[in-house]
Symmetry: C2
Subunit: 762 residues, 2 copies
């Protein structure tokens, strides 16, 4: 199985943090960063999806839990006690690998101790995709020419902080800790400061091919420490396994220490190999759905697989109280908050490969409706105002203040003004329903979100008397360089669409099931007069669009801003700031952080002509600084749409390598999950050019970079999985469950179930 | 002022621990190891003399206190947050210095941050010799070409353990911590687990040439953290000072947080420069008493000064509840316990340079008499059995068990069998009284110790019916390779001497002051019959001494042991184990760890002829492995006595460089305080050959290594300070308070007060 491995053979202090992210493992329930037990981590990280705590911070953050990997190894012989780690020893050899086919992180290090012994350590770690609370790490230790005793010090390290890199924000979210000592290992109960809810961690260390004794159990600043030891013969390899389980009070299961110990015992009885086998079977099933094959471009192939593997690792189909944070389960960045990134950049991947998880992501929004309603109420509106940054409850948790580089407080306005998230969520419901025809979801959950967001927009629209039109003033569009603008096209367009679709579903539901319709509209007090208001306003929402020019003004007054065009790029092809620019004045220039109008064109391609898209692409692309990791993937997609193929491959690589090359410089804080989703979008909906047209017809219009021999992927459309293979000559579609019709260059073809329909590329 | 500085310009991970010891500062009350704030310490260490705690350990240990030096510096500018420390930056330049004339530790480091800024930091630190609870550190920071903000994170780090290098023994001696936040800084109250007694630490950080704000105060796992910040201009140097105070419940002063805060405020008001000036004045006074000048050998001069500086730093003349641990206040080694090292190796230095401190050291023993009496009672004897290892109470605290390199428990027998400590203490009282004629001390304290030790020996002696003699079986002499022997000459000889001197003082006191005599003998129930017993036994104590051979058998049966002679040495001239030796069998060989009989000859030179000394030196020196740092100094002294001058200088250098070159490999655990005392002994009583003969006459019989031009030192004899200067040609004695008689080569000379008496060296 080729190109399923990410490897790194160069240990670098500078890249340590980003590598910990790249090599992190997650299973949607929890994530553990790819730290090396024998090396001081840059940022150790253990997270449970949805476990937030505010503590002393201004807003809640995804809690960095006590580190269960903590292990120290010591050699003892006549020469005394020698610690085996990167600090005390010389590093002779290093390699680490993420084997995405097996779902394991492996590393191998050779260290030379102070007294000159060569210690070879290999480790393999996985977090079970089968039993989401379980993780295990296996170690092989061989000390060349050494005989003596080896001590293993095992703990669950509670000296862990969120934001540990920044002294101002560094915080430990636990009020107290209860160490646990039991027959087969150690554990810890950690109590969150806000709620006093418990996190229970337990682990047990088992020798595989030798005998090991527990010399001592003790507690250090409330953490449990056990010391194990064994006698070491010259040149023999010793193998032992650490089994761990993690539960929280939020889990449905009983989370008493006794219950958790029982679960650990089940795990121990199952054993490492069997658990790994079950885990691998799950992973295989997943690869079977999600894999994308690119023939002829190994680096891109591996990087793309890394993106979809990590994105797929970030979601969990059972727990409806969680979604995917902007940094996955891979780091603390953005405090684990959920942004529009989830719906716009990650959701399509799940929708077309694993619709159950796509539904879970929407269910998270449904479960946070009460919070969204509260947000609207508290800011003077009606309906549901989904927060720009969301945690468990759906309350707006965007920090109000950040810190400038001078240490001065700076007001953060995204949470106040980025209303578009509300329509972004509504749009995902549209896509979900269209791709699944899941009536049950729409009736029970989707419609309620659509109605509440419709009510919100209706209350948010501002009537301009003199122009007899509705406007939305003082907003921020996706482009965050312009913080307080009026009539942002993206926002107004999607708000209008939201109202339209909400109204459509209102009447659809009324026709479909009058009883359920009545129950819902009664419950949320949605009267016909409200929907009449939507319909009236839809007609009058102002969408600034100069009929003479094809270039659309991003918001009112944008064309009057100080004009800049990007002319210089760095060695990686990323734009450089114009020389004469004062970055405090970005708000007053035409430079963009990330696509705004182009984002709209990507989302609503049928609303724009090819010429419009092309001219707008040409105009805005030259003004976009790509200071967001969301930017390159959308530019890749658009460049294909407008046939600016010269750009496409470069934007694709930037998307793929965001974390692998740490090209935003902050991968240490977690994966750029939107970028991983963007990578899937660019591959499948960009190069693969799969899209659904206004008639709900499947369309394929692929374009491949010259270097590639073929591109293949799978999608599921309305329960019908299909295989797509694209070469420079042929397009092949093979539906697996029922025959389908599809379009290529305006022509309709039929693909019979189980057979490959081959179409010649024109 | 030359040769008062110890410098190191090479930063080495491997030597970090021993350098932290070499550059440690202490003032007798407290000690702080020479850690560099910006570098992860090998072993951070903050100690208060006499503050012990047992906790989970088998015996109490000198507690490693929370680290008040803890400080982190961050740069913030457009490039983000950069931490300034050895881990995150490249080390460009490093130097550290102990300026013994000023009593300060200084270092200077240049670090290159991730973003390429060069940060130059200088620091100066002292622990006040004037106000024993005060310490301060001054920092100068300059960041080249950087403008932005600098954050300073200040804490008192409670994540500190004793024995942190050894996972089995690693222990935090505090049950809980109370962080303190007050107007000018932070503090912490730490509660010892055994007694719940408090340690209170407070510190305040004050900018010297700029303005600094406190951004935040917070608590992390019960430690106080304050974050200070200032705006940094390009290339300017910023200077700030951290003032600290430390108190414990054992101190006589009020140790409430309020009282401590008041004391800190006094310190702040006094200011760094004034405090340093007062501190320096104390240090000057001390140098004036203790300095030894060697002309012509700079390395030896500096090393010798380091020894006497650190030894002098370890004692405190006010607190009578403390003495000097085997590792000073400079590390955790030997758990801070007090051994015979204090009386035999360190005491003479204080006796002849600062008799008040010598008295304090004896007062410590007096204060522990109740513990010593308890030890005797519990082991089946009478009187006072001073413990081999002693802490605050005088209870025997030698660990019963150690751990072999295989992790197996090994019985430690020193605490059971090294009885000689009892007579070693008695001998110090003799020396003290002879050198001071301090009748008050002898009457009130000394006599009681002598009586109780007399009673002890009387109860310990075993009558051998068949030989009609008293024996002492099953003991360990100073040489710890032979653990359970009978009639060790050193022990028997000193026990006899102890009984003799106790009896002498008994009658002396009776004559001198019958009332005080009666009070004391009544109090301790010392009846004439007991003293009669002493006198009878003195005659019959068996001292194995073959009249035919001048080589004395170290203990009964020693000559029958398996014979080894040392024939090979390592590159440093230290003996190597004979090839065919099994180190488990040391007990059965003639090899010695350290001098035993030679030790006796050093202590009681007038009891042996020159020929006896010479033959015994020749015999035992060849069998001594010097596996104790106590060994080289005594061999230096003896080699001069027996005119084996070839050895003398080498043994002297080994003594001096024990810690500076870490030649025992364990200096990281603290100074070898006995070796520092041994250095003084070797210089003054070896090369300087100052000794008091049986008629209490001052004697000088110097011998100088060829390299040296002169050796000068000061001593105080019966309140009369005198200056001694020795060259290869002349001996000059200048008494400062009254005229004296002294002997050189059996001739008596008179030195008139204030004048140098010059005698030609023969």
């Amino acid at each position: 199985m080729e190109n399923y491995k990410i490897t790194n053979k160069l240990f670098s202090e500078k890249e340590k943090g980003s590598k910990e992210t790249v090599f992190a493992l997650a299973n949607g329930y929890m994530g553990i960063r790819g730290t090396i037990e024998f090396c001081e981590p840059e940022l150790s990280g253990t997270f449970i999806q949805g476990v937030f705590n505010k503590g002393d911070m201004s807003v809640p953050e995804l809690v960095n839990l006590p580190d269960p990997l903590s292990i120290n190894v010591y050699l003892i012989n006549e020469a005394g006690l020698q610690r085996v780690n990167f600090n005390s020893c010389n590093l002779l050899d290093f390699s680490e690998e993420l084997d995405m086919r097996r779902g394991v992180f492996l590393y191998s290090v050779s260290l030379k101790t102070e007294n000159g012994y060569r210690v070879n350590i290999k480790s393999e770690r996985f977090i079970s995709w089968k039993n989401k609370h379980r993780w295990a790490a296996k170690y092989w230790i061989n000390v060349e020419k050494f005989s003596g005793r080896i001590l293993i010090e095992n703990t669950i390290n509670n000296n862990i902080y969120n934001n540990s890199m920044n002294p101002l924000d560094k915080t430990n979210h636990f009020g107290h800790f209860r160490p646990l000592n039991f027959q087969d290992g150690i554990g810890m109960v950690s109590y969150l400061t806000d709620s006093n809810k418990k996190i229970i961690q337990m682990c047990s260390t088992v020798p595989e091919n030798f005998r090991m004794n527990r010399l001592k159990y003790k507690e250090e600043l409330n953490r449990p420490v056990e010391i194990l030891c064994f006698d070491c013969d010259k040149n023999r390899e010793y193998c032992f396994t650490k089994y761990g389980v993690i539960y929280s009070d939020y889990d449905l299961e009983d989370s008493s220490p006794e219950a958790v110990e029982k679960e650990l015992n089940f795990f121990l009885r199952n054993g490492y190999d069997k658990e790994l086998k079950e885990h691998r079977r799950e992973i295989e099933d997943n690869w079977d759905r999600i894999d994308i094959k690119i023939d002829g471009d190994d680096e891109v192939q591996r990087a793309l697989r890394w993106c979809i593997f990590q994105l797929n690792s970030s979601a969990y189909k059972i727990n409806e109280y969680s979604s995917i944070g902007a940094k996955g389960l891979h780091g603390e960045g953005y405090k684990g908050h959920v942004f529009w990134d989830t719906e716009i950049f990650m959701f399509p991947f799940f929708l077309y490969t694993n619709p159950e998880i796509a539904k879970t992501l929407l269910m998270y929004r449904y479960s946070t409706l009460p919070g969204a309603i509260k947000n609207a109420f508290e800011t003077g509106y009606k309906g549901a105002r989904f927060p720009w940054e969301s945690e468990r409850e759906g309350i707006e948790v965007t920090p109000k203040w950040g810190m400038s580089y001078k240490g001065e407080k700076v007001r953060i306005l995204t949470g106040d003004h980025e209303y578009h998230i509300i329509a972004d969520i509504a749009l995902s419901i549209y896509h979900y329903y269209r791709a699944t025809l899941d009536n049950d979801f729409m009736m029970r959950y989707g419609a309620e979100i659509l109605f509440q967001t419709g009510i919100f927009w209706n209350s948010r629209l501002q009537y301009n008397d003199s122009m007899d039109r509705y406007e939305i003033k003082n907003v921020m569009g996706p482009d965050e360089f312009h913080e307080e603008v009026d009539n942002n096209v993206y926002t107004n367009f999607l708000a209008r669409w939201n109202l339209k679709y909400s109204a459509y579903i209102y009447f659809w539901m009324k026709r479909k099931n009058i009883r359920v319709f009545r129950e819902l509209t009664d419950k949320i007090k949605l009267f016909p007069s409200e929907v009449d208001g939507w319909r009236e306003k839809i007609e009058k929402i102002y969408i600034p669009r100069d009929p003479k020019s094809k270039v659309i003004e991003q918001f009112e007054g944008y064309f009057k801003l100080k004009e800049y065009e990007i002319t210089k790029h760095d060695e990686n092809g990323m734009p450089l700031w114009p020389d004469d620019l004062d970055t405090d004045e970005l708000n007053n220039t035409t430079l963009l952080k990330q696509p705004d109008l182009l984002m709209l064109m990507y989302l609503m391609p049928e609303q724009f002509t090819f010429e419009e898209m092309k001219e707008n692409y040409d105009f805005y692309e030259r003004r976009t600084m790509h200071k967001s990791s969301l930017s390159p993937s959308i530019h890749c997609l658009l460049s294909i749409s407008v046939h600016e193929y010269d750009h496409s491959y470069e934007y694709f690589k930037k998307t793929l390598l965001t974390d692998l090359y740490d090209n935003q410089g902050n991968s240490a804080l977690g994966i750029h999950a939107a970028s991983t989703g963007g990578a899937w979008l660019a591959a499948v909906m960009g190069f693969g050019r799969f899209y659904i047209d206004k008639d709900d017809m499947l369309n394929f219009d692929p374009w491949l970079p010259e270097k590639w021999n073929s591109l293949s992927y799978k999608i599921i459309w309305r329960g019908n999985p299909m295989e797509i293979e694209i070469t420079h000559e042929k397009l092949r579609i093979k539906p697996l469950k029922e025959s389908i019709f599809f379009k290529y260059t305006e022509k309709i073809f039929e693909a019979t179930v189980g057979e490959s329909k081959e179409v010649k590329i024109l």
